[in-house]
Symmetry: C2
Subunit: 434 residues, 2 copies
Amino acid sequence: MTDYRRLRVALLGAGAVGSQVARLLLKHSGELADRAGATLELAGIAVRNLDAPREGDLPRELFTTDAESLIVGADIVIELMGGIEPARTYLLQAINSGADVVTANKALLATHGPEIFDAADQVGAEVYYEAAAAGAIPIIRPLRDSLAGDRVQRIMGIVNGTTNYILDRMDTEGAEFADVLADAQRLGYAEADPTADVEGFDAAQKAAILASLAFHTTVPLESVHREGITSIDKTMMDAARHAGYVVKLLAVCERLGDESEESISVRVYPALVDRSHPLASVHGANNAVFVQAEAAGNLMFYGAGAGGVQTASAVLGDVVSAARRHIAGGVGVGESTLANLPIVDIGRVTTRYQITVEVDDRPGVLATVAGTLSDGRVSIATLEQTVAGEDAATARLVIGTHKALEQDLSETVERLAASGVVERVVSVLRVEGD
Amino acid sequence: MTDYRRLRVALLGAGAVGSQVARLLLKHSGELADRAGATLELAGIAVRNLDAPREGDLPRELFTTDAESLIVGADIVIELMGGIEPARTYLLQAINSGADVVTANKALLATHGPEIFDAADQVGAEVYYEAAAAGAIPIIRPLRDSLAGDRVQRIMGIVNGTTNYILDRMDTEGAEFADVLADAQRLGYAEADPTADVEGFDAAQKAAILASLAFHTTVPLESVHREGITSIDKTMMDAARHAGYVVKLLAVCERLGDESEESISVRVYPALVDRSHPLASVHGANNAVFVQAEAAGNLMFYGAGAGGVQTASAVLGDVVSAARRHIAGGVGVGESTLANLPIVDIGRVTTRYQITVEVDDRPGVLATVAGTLSDGRVSIATLEQTVAGEDAATARLVIGTHKALEQDLSETVERLAASGVVERVVSVLRVEGD
């Protein structure tokens, strides 16, 4: 056995991820020491309640309710408590007492990232957060380091496992949203309060983190346009399938404009993806991040986006990196937000759309619809008309558009709805993946 | 503009990758400086022949035939010449003169890796080689850093674009190997001498690099079992498709045994992959590396495995990393070969197999075949009998086995061939991806 320097590791939180991190730190201590060049000594695990039931059989003496004492004197602090406070206070305390920190806390980074990274810069500490972007999928180092010499043009990520599980089952089984959600809750794929997942809040946090990494710029969470999947129903899934698409909740981070006047757009919404696109094959609760870069072309990173032991893998990779740097110095994952790119409103984004409307089935209707679109600078690429139901007086139009400006599109849809020939706007979905 | 320290970058080689690296270094110098924290000054480009035709319009004054003078005084040396010599001599010279080095030279690393990494260790230099493992796909940092706290169990990689292009077209078009190869050569997907690709030499070099990274151990190129795709024909592709498989040339790096007595296997061969496996969807000249890790579960990294500008992206990422480390110190990508795992012979590997034989169509034959397999410790999972052709006296048996030891399997196939009832062993293919 090599005689390594000992580094004291403080763990904050012992939930699904934290308990796995502690277990693996203890189980693989020899291997981890060889890789880190330092013995990683788990100094303690801070929890709120010592008597709460715990997974696994971690030594009782490691647990403490005194997080602050644990942080003092730690070389590396792992924050897996989640939520904003007291996680934020503890992370700042750890940084200011000279520790490098590892966190999987996407909510905290998406809202208080600049404060935390600035605090680390002040004292020369590093913040590692691989597990905060796409669970177990290694994406931080590829974006920050491997692609550091390239220019990322666009990221399309399936970054929320719960919604992908729901949409995938709706697609494959023809089931309704509410039924699949109830099932997902029963199976533990969705929380009792599913809002953070199904309304896109979790994906928006990850989108903010991915965009800031990819474009080397600061992306405040409130600049991320966000729509959830609660309005997606069986009819929309069927129409998508019929047109060769699948519905996915996407986090899209896009560079716009030319190099002299660049901006970015960051948005989360359910979108239609061509079934031949690699993202269409991402099933169940899996995640994937599809990256388009100027030189590298198309890349995709696929894996488990959540899960205690899977996420623990990403956390432990960060712990090894933090330990190496704690010993050898140098830069860590690092932040670079020098680009300072403006972030545009969703109205300034262009995508393709699929518009489904029910119209009166009488002469002249199609001309009115086509004219309204044309007047609104929305160009028709495909059009399919079917009978809407038993009522033969109504027809359904599914219109695929060429790329159009979101603002033009939404104004045009409003005019369509008020045109007198459209009975109902069934759905308006963006098409991503060109 | 921030006033950065200047780092002198020497480029050796101006082929498809080198010319793109030079172009992007010049084009994106401002952005690269922000990300590296240093101005990357392209000091010169060493070539063999100043008068050779060059892609792009790089300034003539950058070119030189005097590589040694260029290397002296360079902070970062990028080696993109390929081949063993003089690349090896130049890389060692660069390391010994205090430069950090970046290389895409898989042949050199797979044969002289330990010599080069040792030389770098001696002087505290770093060797970066993201482009040597899977072209533009970021795989080095994920394996070395992101998964440093995990245990990789198996890697299955499609790491050669030429063979994937050929096999994909054979699969989708029902074409024969020779015809697709000729077409691939015409289109520039395959070299005039395709040996390195179609015989698996290129994939074997990458397998050695990936295995040494994943298992933190030294993997000599000669320990990699290697078979090419030249024996794959239309009949085998059809049989694979019929059974729900696709044929892929895989680089398989596998951890064997339990933790008390571990070993690894590294092998390259055409294998059957279930069509529902993520690797089955890797089409054309694309590459993908599928990683199974103890904690992280299944991950996949997908992208362009070759191409000048795509590979240049990986090289430039390394250049930025090298520059950051040159300024700030600390560890680079690093090597850790402390595990020293034994590498087993192909005979000690277990996989599933698909055995196709032509047999006499008479009573008792099936019993003889089944008995021979059973005696050889090869257990039958599936069996399908069809008439082999117009000659109704011959039947074709397609036997899917449970997992069996390669040595048992090959001895059993020999006994089958000599059993008197088997007219011809049509094919024996391994099935990967469980």
